[in-house]
Amino acid sequence: MNWLFPLYLAGAAAILAPILLHLRRRPPQERVEFSSLLFLDAHTPVPVSKRRLENWLLLMLRCLALILLALMFARPFLRSESTTTASADRATLILIDRSASMRRDDLWKRAIAEAKRTAQSAKITDRVALAVFDQKLTPLWSFEQDRTAAPSRGAEISTRLAAETPSWSATLLDRALIDAIALFGSSTTSLQKHILLITDLQEGTHLDSLRSIAWPSDLRLQVLRLDPATADNFSLALAASEQDGSKEALIRLRLSNTRDSALRDFKIAWQNAPKADAIAAQIPPGASRIFTAPPNATQATTLVLSGDKNDFDNRVFIAPPQPRAVRIHFLGDDTTRQEAASPLYYLARALQPTATLAPELTASLSLPVQNPDILFISGRTPAVETHTRLSDFLQQGGFLIHVVTSPDDEVFLQTLTGNKDLTITEDRSDDYRMLAEVNTRHPLLKPFADPKLRDFTKIRFWKHRVIQGLKASSSLETLATFDNGHPAIISTRIGKGTLIVLASGWHPGDSQLALSTKFVPLLYGWLAAAGFSHDPAATLLVGDSLPLDAAQAHMVIDPEGKSHSLKAGESFITTQIGLHQVQTGARHQIIAVNLPPDEGRVLPLDPQKLADYGIKLASAAETASAPSAAEQQRLSAIETEQRQHAWWWILVILLAVLLLETALAGRSRHSAVAQSA
């Protein structure tokens, strides 16, 4: 047991007072009125003091209360093993923020200078580690390395820091701090653990995950906030871009101004665009506005904001529209393209180019030399000699949509599916048919996953063919059936490819499908299933991984022009803003990556805010450099005492004792009064 203020223990001597008071016995002062002293003789009054202690229980409680009071003031604490052996040596982790906001002014230079100064001022027995963080923590110099190479620490750290530059990432301080806790390994157990955080601690710093952890009680965080000359800043971010169908995408931008900013005037323009196309306006401090981007006459890819000093968050990259070519072949007569009764007529009108897709529909009676991406067959049974080629087409990953129009197709389908039981007959009934069961959960019918779009009752099928013998082949799936129970759409995977078989065509001779609202979504759903997604590219931020097809190898060229070749299954996490070029086989894609919008919120936070998340911040006394050994010990004693709070428990016991004493005294007094009455 140790004491913070042992002098107060002398106060325990005060127990003499109650002992003396209890020893001293007052001569009875009471006067009792009695009717007559006729039968009573006088007695000699008892002496003033006597050796016998009265009310020893009460006395004990009073003495205990005084002792507890003295103990409480002396502030006891137990020096545990670790604190006893804890030396004055420190284990300091220098954690430098290298997020994009550190690009402002000379913040990065100052951060490096501070880190070097701290590393050099550390004693040889201290341990120093170095790490930088933005979205993730990157250790540069570990405690383990420091233990083996402490004398060369200064030079090593300088070298490592010189190689670092601020990144374009967001500031995920929460994740960095959580990871930093793990860096204090076994080599630092007996040392005073300390993190020196060098950061601009801007508003956009992420702190939320800190709520999910318990901060180690022996770890202190010292925040060294670097403030730039001015925090006034405009920041530009992409709010939304609509690319529905049109090549001229409507781009919306969010522009924010910092609170209490002196800046007002700004200008947004496409890079290298004529001055007339720029937006020049004003924005008040603290405001945030959505603007539509100016017309992009020069097909530029970068929007530039000007008007503030800090350049890092003034650019937004927009990838140019890159509709993807889809080669679609219709096996039939190209001359029917203009005939309203032919299937090709509807196909050609449904497959219109969009911002993301550029379908090229060809039609011929024979297969083209180069295999198309998607092949439609309707109204014509392929000749037997083409069966092998079509089968190969499917095996290699082709996408074949075949409309059964006559029982002659039976052999073709038997060949493709390998199911010899498959039979096709013409439905003879006079009545029309409707779709009864549609498996909307199937990937090929994904556009109808939304219950609002599942109404197929307006489509009537005048004619259809009855496909039978499906049960024998488990690979054939029925996507939809008619109301007489016959399959309407079936599909199967053949090799790498997909075969879709329709029992009725979409042209008006067979059904109303082509005229219904379901036709276009159905086609684009199949396009998506074939790997030609119609969805616009998601807006990417630094730190996101590029949306790459895991099945293929890619070549990525980053904005700096460095190329990275990726094997199938590898991902590419973006670290820079700008346009990334992705080469996948013959396909060339440009992907824009922008700065995380939070980085633009540059107003500095109060370091005390970190304390709200349960982090133990280093006090002013602790941050003072090189305290004396005695002072160190005293500080550690204060710290231990504050952690243990033993005085608080003593106070609770003291109150309990006082309560007991009051109750006891009250009771004895009460009985005394009752007696005298």
């Binding site: 009471e30 009792v32 009695f34 009717s35 039968f39 009573l40 007695h43 009054p45 008892v46």
Partner: protein
């Protein structure tokens, strides 16, 4: 007989502020109780049952006897209007002591008021004398409307004197009471016994019918004090340091001797002695008093018949 349950607790009775009301409560209670109780005939005035003859007032027919025996009897009452009762109350300071929320003086006053009320209700004359160092007030026995009120007013007056001089008072009283009658002496008798015997002998010799109500507080009887203290004599004002635990035994022994002496003196001079601790219900005291009177009367009348 379990008196505790049938009679009113004195502490409860004393809570009634008005002495007159208090007396009324006791007397009414006893009166009603007597008519309902099996002690029906033990009244001061009850004489005998007599067969009903034509011309008798049917009000006096005992209906219960009629119900029991199918015979009409008349309840006869003895006329006792010649009884003159002088209530002599000790008004000394020692009577002002009480440990149960009321003093011996309160108890004595209530007892006196009860007796006076009871006696006057049955047509006897009652008077009041208060004494301390000498006679303080004297109301001769009368049975007039308003006399009870005067007695009660007198009883309500607080005691002024400090000491007791029973001998002086009784000799003065003997001078005042020339006609024979009943004297009810209500006192705590906290005085040396020698004088008392002489005075009792004097009064008895004068032909008075003497009844002594010895009022004492429970604390005086049991001496239940625990803590040592300076005990002050209420009458003389003297203080003595007393350790009750040490003194109790002697005290109780001396008190018993004192009571024994009183008892002997009373027996010797045919004084009717009633022991009245202040926690004894007044109805009980009154009832005892009445029953003793009844016995005496019966003894007297049998003696007369024998003669």
């Amino acid at each position: 007989m379990n008196t505790a349950t049938t009679f009113l607790n004195p502490a409860a009775l004393m809570r009634i502020k008005s002495l007159e009301l208090r007396a009324k409560v006791v007397v009414e209670g006893l009166w009603k109780g007597m008519h309902r109780s099996p002690y029906h005939g033990f009244s001061v005035e009850f004489s005998e049952y007599r067969a009903y003859v034509q011309g008798d007032d049917p009000r006096y027919i005992d209906w219960k006897v009629l119900a029991r025996s199918d015979r009409t009897f008349i309840k006869k009452f003895e006329d006792e209007t010649n009884l003159r009762c002088q209530l002599v109350i000790d008004h000394s300071k020692s009577m002002g002591y009480g440990s149960q929320g009321f003093t011996k003086a309160d108890y004595a006053a209530t007892l006196a008021a009860t007796l006076a009320s009871f006696l006057m209700k049955q047509g006897d004359a009652a008077g009041l004398t208060t004494f301390a160092e000498g006679i303080e007030e004297h109301l001769p026995p009368r049975n007039r409307p308003g006399h009870l009120r005067r007695i009660i007013t007198e009883l309500e007056r607080p005691a002024k004197a400090t000491g007791t001089s029973l001998s002086v008072s009784i000799s003065q009283l003997a001078d005042l009471l020339r006609r024979r009658g009943m004297i009810c002496l209500i006192t705590d008798l906290l005085a040396p016994i020698e004088h008392l015997e002489k005075q009792l002998a004097l009064l008895s010799a004068m032909g008075h019918d003497l009844v002594l109500f010895h009022v004492m507080d429970r604390a005086e009887i049991d001496f239940t004090f625990e803590k040592s203290a300076h005990f002050r004599d209420a009458e003389s004002g003297k203080e003595r340091f007393i350790d009750p635990q040490a003194a109790r035994e002697t005290y109780l022994k001396r008190l018993q001797t004192h009571r024994d002496h009183i008892q002997q003196s009373c027996d010797r001079h045919r004084v009717e002695y009633h022991w009245c601790p202040t926690d004894k219900p007044l109805e009980e005291v009154l009832f005892q008093f009445l029953s003793v009177r009844q016995h005496k009367k019966a003894a007297k009348s049998s003696a007369r018949r024998a003669a």
